[in-house]
Symmetry: C2
């Protein structure tokens, strides 16, 4: 059957992308447009005014219900976690200081009160924080410890005599650092500290601690402004020191542990590590949200760069006397179109993870394993989505030439504000390591408690086959290979545009990399090497396996989405994008596939040709495909780029 | 012989890097330190004050002789082009608005007066501009035409009746855009416009046009501020419109063409295209300078990130109870050390190109071919060096985690200011296309005049063998292969750490990619495809060949530098870096080498292992290797990162 160029029904595709939360997304789009002036104010206002403006805007948005979707209805919330993620993602089309301020206030601060607290905390704080009457912050990170939260050094000592906790910052490396909302607006903090009761340490716990009263910082608390940052200057990040600050016993967020009046520590979770990771696990929503925000920030950049490339002419090429549109150049297609494909893929993967979050946190999926898998997927997708955002925004900026450098044309803020996404809510490399740990241990019940030593020891104690056979990639792989033509020669015989071929390739890679990493860890230990040295040497391999795993999940999400669509032009168009995502992913790692006997030279070259062919097929659809992202015109700004030639 | 860990003599290595211009570089370092406050002022001052501060600082630096090195001594200059490049490169350790303002005033404006003008212009302007008493700008780029300068639309019509040129901006796409120094400080502009004499067009020429008198914009000129930019906000970029502005006949910079009083056009270069490219060619110094600045900006970032990684601990790994230094993690080594190696490689390549520039422009190498080769090398190295800067700065920022996001810690300015390097002074993709054109046509005498059509037609008219055999890569390749063990099996037999093996691999790739691009261009034309379509389809291949060419030149520069060193620790240490640059470059493109039969799976894996091994060997030297860059402490700022743990 000859290939027929599909016609993209833009509103229908937007509806598909918006999914079940179309209404929520529409509300956020309306709010964004209403407050579109913030994009320009962000450049013009001085830092304090910009911060106050962002605060005001967050409170105005809160009044529309947009930011409280995830809280119980009895406290003024929307009672729908999935809706709250959708609202947050959509907010990423606009000013990202507003986004991050919302994340701090409702996601981190509100989320900690909701998830780690009990009814007494909910009744005391939730209604006020949902409206923004009570502004708060989430004081976890310390200067000395960002990624390694278990090693935090702030101490909360129980004083049975007064029934109070005494919060103390022992030294400067233990000061709370980078705390959003702290420098100017927060009245209250959720503070993470090592709990000490009767001389015994019980690990990190969270406490509600007042920071300001009537705008003045309370005694014993010292706050410093983190000052000018690369971006997100509408968020007031600060540093906090506690000098023997006393809070009542009830300030402990006591869902997972409590201290009785007389100073007895109790917890339903006996193991200290597991308790800690259970607490942290309840905060997974933050990572899901940042990943989704990254995908949507990339959409803004791609919309601008693609529309510009469809208007701007440069050099004569196809006909004398008239310059060529940028997007008709093969190189320009190669630069932008695979990024559009990957954005779609990540969008659908994000939809899956956000859906799983909704299920787990709405009590629809209660088992421990689902919760662990969610944490892992959220971590992995956050890493890939935020790196994608950085890369795509940069490519789009360059593709718009010098004009991309003007602040009015949007890339300035997009780039500067998203830059920290790759390191906050978990450094991306650390997150991928977490994903790999889950895979290598098959999310064993001990997995959360393992440090790097523990992981190496655990893997060394298993047969490599055990590691591999337990993985989901392995099971899926066996089944899939059988479905492909060619038997053991599937990698030579399957059609290049067969989704089963794409999936099999990515599953093969994941399984093989994982087995390789396990083998190397084991061999290192067997050879008597120091455990840390073993880990250090295999670390890039371990992280590579995690990345391969996440790329496989992303492709699966795309392929499954496609499978559920009715036949028609939309399916054809998305099929082109899915093929392009899969083949450009394989192409980017073709060295690995050839090294491992799964790609001949000839086939590797054929894949590169196919990627170029797909780009040419998608080129006429490109503007429709980015328009379907549904970024409001007011959020694009960039008049110089978008009306070029008018 | 067993490998012995070398000890790096830091001052000796700095002396090697500084080379023959150590004294000039020392002067610039002194000036940078004296004015170090600008790094903090850049954050604090409002835009106008920052711009004025930068202007003042440029004038103060000019008084030390630092910025006028490239001008003839009779006009107060230093009479040494190589020294002027060295001074500019070193300036890139500091505030980059100062750097770019210097580039605009002395490189672009001053360079145009010097290179395109004759004695009357030199006598009128050079002394004043060398001191900064006369501030000027370089009005080439138009909104409608950045890369395609030949298509500029501003017109200069000769009026024989008054012996004047009338400069006119026909429409808004022809407004001069992004002109540095224009919005606030320039009194004079060199304006590029289509020259029309007696109804006949003669192509683009340059004119000296007054913009301001006593600070006020002169009649007929309209200037608009380009406004807020991603970075470089200390430079006042503007837009300029000319409404029939009259300048005397002598305003034409008439080194390459003139108009007699009665309106006769004369030029020693008959062909219009060649005349244009000869004029442009005299301005090649700008590209050499930007490339060198990119390399040095990367050094600043790498110095900070490497020193931090050698102080900061994160997670327990090798011994219980103590966290591990970041730089002891294999992944962290893999992230930073190949970037250090590539920085050294680019530094030495830059030294070669700057040396060639000095020879060509000091009249030491007069022939046309040398000039063309210089233009090509400058273009290619500018592209690779500025992409390297963007990538390295980004990786370093992420490697410093959240702290890297604080403006005080330097990455903010480094990232924002260097971002435009990849698109100004020639968009990097366009520059690589220029390099490829030179290679495909063997710098034939017609090459400069060819547009994209011309290139495709030219290549289609040759035998592919002709294209290949003419290239320098080909000749070098044949000679080298014979020197390697294994005969035709050299790619299997040569030692992985043999520099001849590295060179042969990169030369093979270059030759093969070039031949492949030529073959595809030819085939497209033979098949009757539209010339533009042929070009569009092969464009990424063409650009890939150019990139391969430049990477080969960079490696050659490194290997040649090494060959000239006395045996000893310094040579051993630099040898590790050269090996790491070569093997990580091959590793990054191992897919291509396997596709083309030059790398077996086993050898490809062995190269990856060797890259990791080299990283482990270099790790103990890493801090010394970045300290040897000689970035003044005051330019690093970043107190939080550099004194970590003190």
């Amino acid at each position: 059957m000859a290939y027929e160029q599909p016609v993209v029904d833009v509103p229908a595709l937007t509806a598909l992308l918006d999914g079940r939360y179309a209404e929520v997304r529409a509300l956020v789009r309306t709010n964004l447009v209403r407050h579109a002036g913030i994009l320009e104010e962000a450049e013009r206002l001085d830092r304090d005014d910009y911060r106050d403006r962002v605060r005001d805007l967050v409170i105005e948005m809160a009044a529309t219900g947009q930011t409280g979707m995830g809280f119980p209805t009895e406290y003024g919330g929307g009672g729908d976690i999935g809706a709250s993620v959708a609202a947050f993602e959509t907010l990423a089309f606009g000013d990202l200081s507003v986004l991050v301020k919302v994340g701090v206030q409702f996601g981190l601060f509100g989320g900690a009160i909701l998830q780690l607290g009990t009814r007494r905390h909910h009744e005391a704080h939730l209604e006020d924080l949902v409206t923004g009457r009570l502004m708060g912050c989430f004081a976890m990170t310390e200067s000395g410890h960002g990624s390694n939260v278990q090693a935090l050094a702030t101490v909360a000592t129980y004083d049975a005599a007064t029934e109070e906790f005494v919060i103390e910052t022992p030294d400067d490396t233990a000061r709370k650092d980078w705390i959003g909302n702290a420098a100017r607006h927060a009245e209250t903090a959720v503070v993470f500290a090592q709990l000490e009761v009767a001389g015994e340490r019980h690990g990190v716990h969270a406490f509600v601690v007042p920071l300001r009263r009537d705008g003045a910082v309370v005694e014993g608390v010292r706050i410093e402004d983190c000052g000018q940052k690369m971006g997100l200057n509408g968020v007031d990040n600060g540093r906090i020191w506690f000098d023997r600050v006393r809070v009542p016993r009830e300030a402990l967020l006591n869902r997972f542990a409590d201290v009785t009046m007389d100073g007895t520590y109790t917890s339903p979770i006996e193991n200290q590590n597991r308790r800690f990771f259970t607490m942290l696990g309840t905060l997974v929503q933050g990572r899901v949200c940042v990943g989704g925000a990254g995908v949507n920030a990339a959409k803004v950049a791609l919309t601008i760069a693609t529309r510009y490339a469809d208007r701007r002419r440069q050099f004569e090429a196809t006909s004398e006397g008239r310059e060529e549109l940028l997007l008709d150049y093969g190189m320009h297609q190669r630069r932008l179109l695979p990024l559009i494909a990957r954005t779609y893929a990540l969008h659908f993967a994000q939809e899956v993870v956000a859906g799983r979050l909704h299920e787990v946190f709405s009590g629809l999926a209660e088992d421990e394993r689902a919760r662990r898998a969610l944490e892992s997927e959220a971590a992995g997708l956050k890493a890939l989505a935020t790196w994608h955002a950085s890369g795509a925004i940069q490519e789009c900026r360059e593709a718009c030439g010098g004009a991309g450098y003007r602040s009015e044309n949007r890339f300035d803020a997009l780039k500067a504000d998203t830059d920290v996404f790759t390191t906050f809510e978990g450094d991306n490399h650390v997150l991928l390591q977490l994903v790999a740990k889950g895979l290598l241990t098959d999310y064993s019940s001990e997995f959360e408690e393992m440090d790097q030593f523990g992981l190496v020891r655990f893997v060394a104690g298993l047969a490599v086959e055990t590691v591999v056979e337990r993985t989901s990639a392995h099971k899926l792989l066996e089944r899939l290979k059988d479905a492909l033509p060619g038997g053991d020669e599937w990698d030579q015989e399957a059609g290049l545009l067969d989704p089963d071929y794409h999936l099999t390739m990515l599953r093969f890679r994941e399984e093989h990399m994982l087995a390789g990493a396990a083998r190397r860890l084991k061999r290192g230990v067997d050879q008597g090497m120091d455990l840390g040295e073993v880990f250090s040497r295999v670390q890039d391999h371990v992280i590579g396996a995690a990345r391969a795993h996440v790329e496989r999940l992303v492709l699966e999400a795309f392929v499954e989405k496609l499978a559920g669509l009715d036949d028609g032009d939309l399916k054809v168009a998305l099929g082109l994008l899915s093929d392009l995502y899969a083949l450009s992913t394989i192409e980017a790692d073709r060295g690995w596939f050839m090294e491992h006997g799964r790609l001949s030279s000839a086939r590797s070259k054929a894949i590169s040709r196919e990627v170029s062919d797909l780009c040419r097929k998608i080129r006429p659809l490109a503007v429709d495909l980015v328009d379907a992202f549904g970024v409001p015109e007011e959020m694009l700004r960039a008049p110089e780029l978008l009306t070029w030639g008018d």
